[in-house]
C-alpha cells in the first residue's frame, strides 16, 4: 500500500466512525439548545441503539430491516422517559444538580444494559451484503456508505425540521429565550421532552449504523459520549451543522493519529484535541463569539 492510499484509508475509516461522533454531537446540541443541559447520558443512547438492535435480532428473531428502526424507536422512548422521570421534576435547579442527575442516569442505563445483555462484545450484520469496494488502493466497506448516507439524511431532516416546521421553530424559540417562548404560547415542557426524544433518536441512529463496523458492548457509551462532546466543542457548542462536521473531523484525526502514531493511544487523541481547543479556541472552529451562554 502506498502512502497516499494508506492516507485515503485512514480518512475513509475515520470519516465513518466520525459520522457516529457527529450524530452523538448532534444529540448533545439538540438538548443543550432547548435546555442548556449537557446530557451526560448521551453516549448511553448511542450504546443502546446498537445493543437493542443486536438483541432484537438475536432474542426477538426480528429481521435486520425491522430491528434497526425498532431499536431507534425504543431508545427514543427511553429518551422521553429520562426527561419525564428525572429531568422534569427538577427543572430549574442548579446546573450541578442536572449534571449529576444525567451522570446518574448514564450509570443506570449502562448498568442496566450490563445486567440485561452481559459484558460480551456483540456483532451486528452489515445492512447490505457485498464485499469491500476498492477505491484508489484503499478499501471501502458498503456499510460506510450506509453510515455516510444516513448521517447526511439525518442532518438534512434536522435542517428541514428546524427551518420549515412549526415545532422546529418553536424549539429554536425555546433555545433563544425560554421565557419569551412561553409567553408566545409555546409549551416549553413539551419542547424539552421533544428535544430529549430527538436527541435519543439521533444518538441511537449513530450507534446502530456503526455497530456492524466496530461491534458493540454495554460500555461503549462513555467514550462515544466523550468524543461526541469533543466534536461539539470542535464544531462550536450549540451549532448542529458544526457538531456533525466536528465529529467527522475528529474521527479522521483520530484515525490518522492511530495509524501514524500509536494505536494504543487512539482514544487519547480526542481528549488532547478537546483540551487544546479549550485552551485556544473554546468557541470551536465555526463559532464566532465566546462559548459562554449567560
Amino acid at each position: 500500500m502506498t502512502a497516499a492510499s494508506a492516507f485515503l484509508q485512514y480518512v475513509i475509516s475515520g470519516a465513518t466512525v466520525g459520522s457516529t461522533y457527529g450524530l452523538t454531537a448532534l444529540g448533545f446540541t439538540v438538548i443543550f439548545n432547548t435546555t442548556e443541559i449537557i446530557n451526560f447520558a448521551q453516549g448511553e443512547f448511542v450504546m443502546l441503539g446498537g445493543m437493542l438492535a443486536v438483541f432484537a435480532l438475536r432474542w426477538g428473531g426480528v429481521p435486520l430491516p425491522a430491528a434497526v428502526p425498532l431499536a431507534v424507536l425504543g431508545v427514543t422512548a427511553i429518551g422521553v422517559l429520562v426527561d419525564r422521570l428525572t429531568i422534569r421534576p427538577v427543572r430549574g435547579r442548579s446546573p450541578i444538580t442536572l449534571i449529576i442527575i444525567t451522570i446518574g442516569v448514564s450509570i443506570l442505563l449502562r448498568g442496566g444494559a450490563m445486567l440485561l445483555f452481559g459484558k460480551d462484545t456483540f456483532p451486528l450484520p452489515a445492512f447490505s451484503p457485498g464485499g469491500p469496494i476498492h477505491l484508489g488502493g484503499a478499501t471501502l466497506l458498503p456499510q460506510s456508505l450506509w453510515v455516510g448516507g444516513i448521517t447526511l439524511l439525518t442532518l438534512l431532516a434536522m435542517k428541514f425540521f428546524f427551518e420549515r416546521t412549526l415545532s422546529g421553530k418553536a424549539m429554536l424559540a425555546c433555545a433563544c429565550d425560554r421565557k419569551a417562548a412561553s409567553l408566545m404560547g409555546i409549551h416549553v415542557e413539551s419542547m424539552v421532552t421533544l428535544s430529549f426524544a430527538f436527541s435519543a433518536m439521533v444518538g441511537a441512529l449513530g450507534g446502530v449504523i456503526l455497530a456492524p463496523i466496530t461491534l458493540t458492548s454495554y460500555d461503549v457509551g462513555i467514550l462515544l459520549g466523550l468524543k461526541g462532546f469533543a466534536a461539539c466543542i470542535l464544531g462550536g457548542l450549540g451549532n448542529p451543522f458544526g457538531a456533525v462536521v466536528g465529529g467527522v473531523i475528529l474521527g479522521i484525526l483520530e484515525s490518522l493519529g492511530a495509524g501514524l502514531l500509536s494505536s494504543g493511544y487512539k482514544d487519547a487523541v480526542a481528549f488532547v484535541i478537546l483540551l487544546a481547543l479549550l485552551f485556544l479556541r473554546p468557541a470551536g472552529l465555526f463559532g464566532s463569539s465566546g462559548a459562554e451562554r449567560v
Binding site: 428525572t86 450541578i96 448498568g111 480526542a270
Partner: protein, 333 residues
C-alpha cells in the same frame, strides 16, 4: 458567634477522639483494614466536596489524580529506590502541577466543561497506566512498592498505619473546615450560587475555581500516596472511571457542601459493600440510583437528613417542655 465557633471546635475534637479511640473497640484486625481504606476515601471525598459542594464544579476524573500520585511515588520508590518521603513529595507535586494545567483552561468556562474535561483526563490517564507497560507494569499492575517509612522508621503494623491515615484525614479535615469558614469559603459559595453575581461583586471566579480544583486534586494525591505505601501494589483497575463515580456518589450521598457529610458518605459507601456482599454486581446500579434519587429528593444528602432528624427531635423535646420556641435560623450552610 462565640457559641458557634465553640460548636465546630468541639465537633471536631469529638470526631478526632472517636477516630483515635475506635481501634481499641474493634473486634478484629480486618475492620482496621476496612477503616484504613475508609480513611483514604474520607480524604478523597473531603477534597472532592470542596470542589463539588462548595464551588459547584464537578470532577469526573478524581480517581486519575489518586492514581497518578500512587503510581508516581510507587515507581520512584520501587523502581528507582527513592526514599519514601521524596517519592511522596514528587507525587504530590506532579499531581498539583497537572491539576493546574487541566484546570486552567476548563475552569474559565462553565461547569460542564470541567466535568467533561476531567472525564476525558481520567480516561486518558487510565489508558496510560494500561499502555505504558515498561514503566507501570500495564494491566497486571506494579508491585514491590516499599512500606511507608520516615527516616528509617518503617510503619509496618496496620494499627500504626491506621493512625497515620486518620491523622492525615483529621489534619486535612481541619484545614478544610478552616478554609470554608474563611473569605475563600465565602467566595466559593458565592460562585456556587451564581458565578455571574460573584464576578460582579469582585470575586475572581477563575482564580478561586482553579485554586479549589488544585486543592481537591492535592487531597486526592495525599490519599493516593498513602494508598500506594499501604497496599504496596497498584493496578489500573483501582483508578478507573468506576472509582471516580464512586467518589462523586460519596460526595452526593453524604451531602454537598458539608464536611461532616463527606465523612459520612465516604464511610457509609466503604462499609456498605462489606455489609452486603450480595450487591457486588449491582453496586454500579446502586451508585446510579443514589445519584439520581439524592439529587431529586435529598439534595443535602445524609448530612441534611441527619440535621433534619436532629432538629425534629429537638423541637419535639422543646415542645414537650416549654412549647414551640422560635427557630434560631440555624447556622448557614
Amino acid at each position: 458567634m462565640r457559641v458557634r465557633i465553640g460548636g465546630h471546635v468541639t465537633g471536631f475534637l469529638a470526631f478526632a477522639a472517636a477516630a483515635m479511640l475506635l481501634p481499641f473497640a474493634l473486634p478484629n484486625e480486618y475492620y482496621l483494614t476496612v477503616l484504613i481504606v475508609g480513611g483514604f476515601h474520607v480524604i478523597l471525598v473531603i477534597g472532592l466536596n470542596l470542589l463539588m459542594g462548595f464551588a459547584g464544579q464537578v470532577s469526573l476524573g478524581h480517581a486519575a489524580f489518586y492514581g497518578l500520585s500512587a503510581y508516581t511515588t510507587g515507581i520512584l520508590t520501587g523502581t528507582y529506590h527513592w526514599p519514601v518521603p521524596a517519592g511522596i513529595a514528587a507525587g504530590l507535586l506532579l499531581v498539583t502541577a497537572v491539576a493546574y494545567l487541566i484546570g486552567l483552561p476548563t475552569l474559565k468556562l462553565r461547569g460542564h466543561y470541567l466535568a467533561m474535561g476531567t472525564l476525558g483526563f481520567g480516561i486518558i490517564v487510565y489508558i496510560v497506566f494500561n499502555e505504558a507497560t515498561a514503566v507501570t507494569g500495564g494491566p497486571s499492575g506494579f508491585s514491590g512498592i516499599p512500606k511507608l517509612s520516615f527516616g528509617g522508621r518503617v510503619v509496618s503494623s496496620d494499627r500504626e498505619y491506621y493512625y497515620v491515615v486518620w491523622g492525615a484525614a483529621l489534619l486535612l479535615f481541619a484545614l478544610a473546615q478552616n478554609l470554608v469558614r474563611s473569605r475563600v469559603g465565602r467566595a466559593l459559595r458565592a460562585i456556587h450560587t451564581s458565578e455571574t453575581a460573584a464576578a460582579v461583586l469582585g470575586v475572581d471566579t477563575g482564580r478561586y475555581k482553579t485554586f479549589v480544583f488544585v486543592l481537591s486534586a492535592f487531597y486526592a494525591a495525599v490519599a493516593g500516596a498513602l494508598y500506594a505505601h499501604y497496599v504496596t501494589f497498584v493496578s489500573p483497575g483501582s483508578f478507573g472511571f468506576h472509582t471516580s463515580v464512586l467518589l462523586v456518589t460519596m460526595v452526593v450521598l453524604g451531602g454537598m457542601a458539608s464536611l461532616w457529610g463527606a465523612v459520612m458518605g465516604a464511610l457509609f459507601l466503604t462499609l456498605l459493600p462489606e455489609a452486603l456482599r450480595a450487591i457486588e454486581n449491582f453496586d454500579i446500579l446502586i451508585y446510579g440510583a443514589i445519584l439520581v434519587l439524592c439529587m431529586m429528593y435529598l439534595p443535602g444528602g445524609l448530612a441534611e437528613g441527619a440535621r433534619k432528624c436532629w432538629d425534629a427531635a429537638r423541637s419535639l423535646a422543646r415542645r414537650g417542655s416549654a412549647g414551640p420556641a422560635a427557630d434560631g435560623g440555624g447556622p448557614g450552610r
